[in-house]
Amino acid sequence: MSKITMGQGLNRAIDEAMAEDEGVILLGEDVAAKQGGGVFKISAGLTEKYGEHRIRATPISEQAIMGACVGAALTGFRPIAEIMLMNFVTVCMDQIVNHAAKLRFMSGGQTNVPLVIRTTTGVGVGFGGQHSDMLEAWFAHVPGLKIVTPSNAADAQGLMRAAIACNDPVIFIENILCYGLQSDDPGANHVVPLGKAAVTQEGRDVSIITYGRTVLDALEVAGQLKDEGISAEVIDLRTIAPFDEEAVLASVKKTGRAIVLHEAVKAFGTGAEISARINEKLFGQLKAPVVRIGGAFSAVPMANVLEQAWIPNKDEIKEAARAAVKWGN
């Protein structure tokens, strides 16, 4: 069966949506053909098909990019804003949080903002402190925003189609290390609904709840744990907020043990909400404390040795699973 990479899946989903609706436009730095179709080439070939009026290369002006997308969205367009790296959302949070997220509510439902904010980030490429942050927890705390991140190429394509179709703003987070990941080609018009998690690996003993690149780590660890006789279930949230509480609770009800894993800084991260919710809803039904695993409490260091020490690592996950299963005996 033929394969696609995550980059190809994203490009195809955007292409399909643009072919369908004149209102789908893309704004971002270097995104047009003249600049090579984006620094990660996700918009390669689209300018040739849809023109520079729909694929707009922008100045380095994230507030203007985001605001222009918000404004166009208010008229019924479905803009896609590309923020080159996630750390740069820090220069346009106002447009995202005070405007995109709130205009539907503040207008009493008269307007809405069907906007997709694409951005990429990731630890492990040596980009250092200002180019590697995972800030999904900030957005999850803002009513009015949905946050999505794919862990494989097929989901990337399907989630992007769903995000563009969504009538509310969606933050779409891509992991820089995952663009090359391959999946079986899901074919044209593949859609993965927002808000639905995937049970990527069935298991009985412990639930590993995660999203994005760390899903790969979780699956690898689950495989290794099998040899030790520990059956780990892996839940790929896919939509981080609002997350699929039913799926999470069903899994943890079954296993009685949960590990919440993400690459972002652990302290005050999304794992805290997931852990708190599990504890609230399954009080007295857990066989072991919910464990959170996340990034270290520091800026992301540049030196590779430090960067590798910063990221949650597989041994840590394995250890947590063993400890959870052993808990109490």
């Binding site: 203007a64 503040m106 009015g144």
Partner: protein, 326 residues
């Protein structure tokens, strides 16, 4: 100038002026407790601007935007009901005076964040450019807003794309408590257009004929596809930052200067010069007062929104406890 157009401008101006005065008195009376950014001194600039634009052109304005909204045509009953936090308001009471939205009259966004309307205005204009719908977008903001980053990014992008947008700076000489000369060293805001190679117009906003001519020139430029324009209208904020706020920091000579330039008596005189009689003018004002009183009655007799409103308009779908940890 054209007598009908002058009458149009006069009516918009006085609707704003009477609204502003009645808003202040209803707040004074204690009947309404709300943050109200009075528009006293800025009635004419926006009346002339909107008289030069079309009803279906887009408008983006700020917390100090009631004059722009009224000039653009937002019905007074819905506007006042919104300010009073009623279910019948433009935004069901959720937005309030700082966030009036009324797409039916082109009022797409009213923002409370200084400078944030400009990037959004570009997006509305960009959509018009792609759709070729012939609409222009008017974006209102103050002098103080021109020092914030969003202003700069938006000006540059608008010129780069040749967007049909008018950046309408109402220079009322103050940003909250800070006087113009204390927030920038540039002589006037129109000079800033050169940094983007953009067309600029600088006008005395208290001179009806000059202001209207400038507005027409700006509208023609933007609508003709020649790209954006920065229109700076000089005016005065004749009261504190918001109604009731102390404005002892405004020096007496400035207050005197303002009083002499008050656009309302000047416009009335212009009307008389154009053979409108005192009686006619007073009659128009009486009609406007009646309209406003009815709107106030409508607003204050309207019900408050129900708490269930917190679960709708967050997303397209209703908020369900649990899913959102709400």
């Amino acid at each position: 100038m054209d007598r009908d157009k002058l009458l149009d401008i006069y009516t918009r101006t006085m609707r704003i002026a009477r609204f502003d005065e009645q808003m202040r008195s209803v707040i004074m009376s204690g009947k309404l407790a709300t943050l109200y950014y009075t528009v006293r001194g800025q009635e004419l600039v926006t009346a002339a601007m909107m008289a030069a634009a079309n009803k279906d052109d887009y408008l983006v304005t700020t917390y100090r935007g009631q004059h722009d909204q009224i000039a653009k045509g937002v019905p007074l009953d819905l506007l006042i009901a919104e300010i009073a936090g009623r279910e019948t308001g433009t935004c069901k009471g959720k937005g309030g005076s700082m966030h009036i939205t009324h797409p039916a009259t082109g009022v797409m966004v009213t923002t409370g964040v200084v400078g944030s309307g400009l990037p959004i205005a570009n997006g509305l204009a960009l959509a018009s450019q792609n759709r070729k719908d012939g609409k222009i977008t008017i974006c209102c903001f103050g002098d103080g807003a021109t020092n914030i980053g969003a202003f700069h990014e938006s000006m540059n992008m608008a010129q780069l794309y040749g967007l049909p947008v008018i950046f309408f700076c109402q220079n009322n000489r103050y940003g909250e408590h800070t006087a113009f000369a204390d927030h920038t060293k540039v002589e006037n805001i129109a000079l800033r257009a050169a940094a983007y190679n953009m067309k600029a117009i600088h006008v005395d906003g208290n001179d009806t004929e000059a202001m209207y001519a400038a507005a027409v020139e700006a509208v023609e430029h933007a609508r003709s596809g020649k790209g954006p324009v920065l229109l700076e209208a000089m005016c005065y904020r004749m009261m504190g930052h918001f109604f009731g706020a102390d404005f002892s920091y405004m020096p007496p000579d400035h207050l005197a200067e303002m009083a002499a330039e008050d656009p309302l008596p000047k416009l009335r005189k212009l009307m008389l010069d154009h053979q409108f009689s005192e009686e006619e003018l007073d009659g128009m004002v009486a009609t406007l007062d009646k309209e406003i009183e009815d709107a106030m009655t409508f607003a204050f007799e309207s019900p408050f929104p129900s708490a269930a409103e917190l679960t709708v308009d967050v997303f397209e779908e209703k908020i369900v406890e649990g899913r959102y940890g709400a």
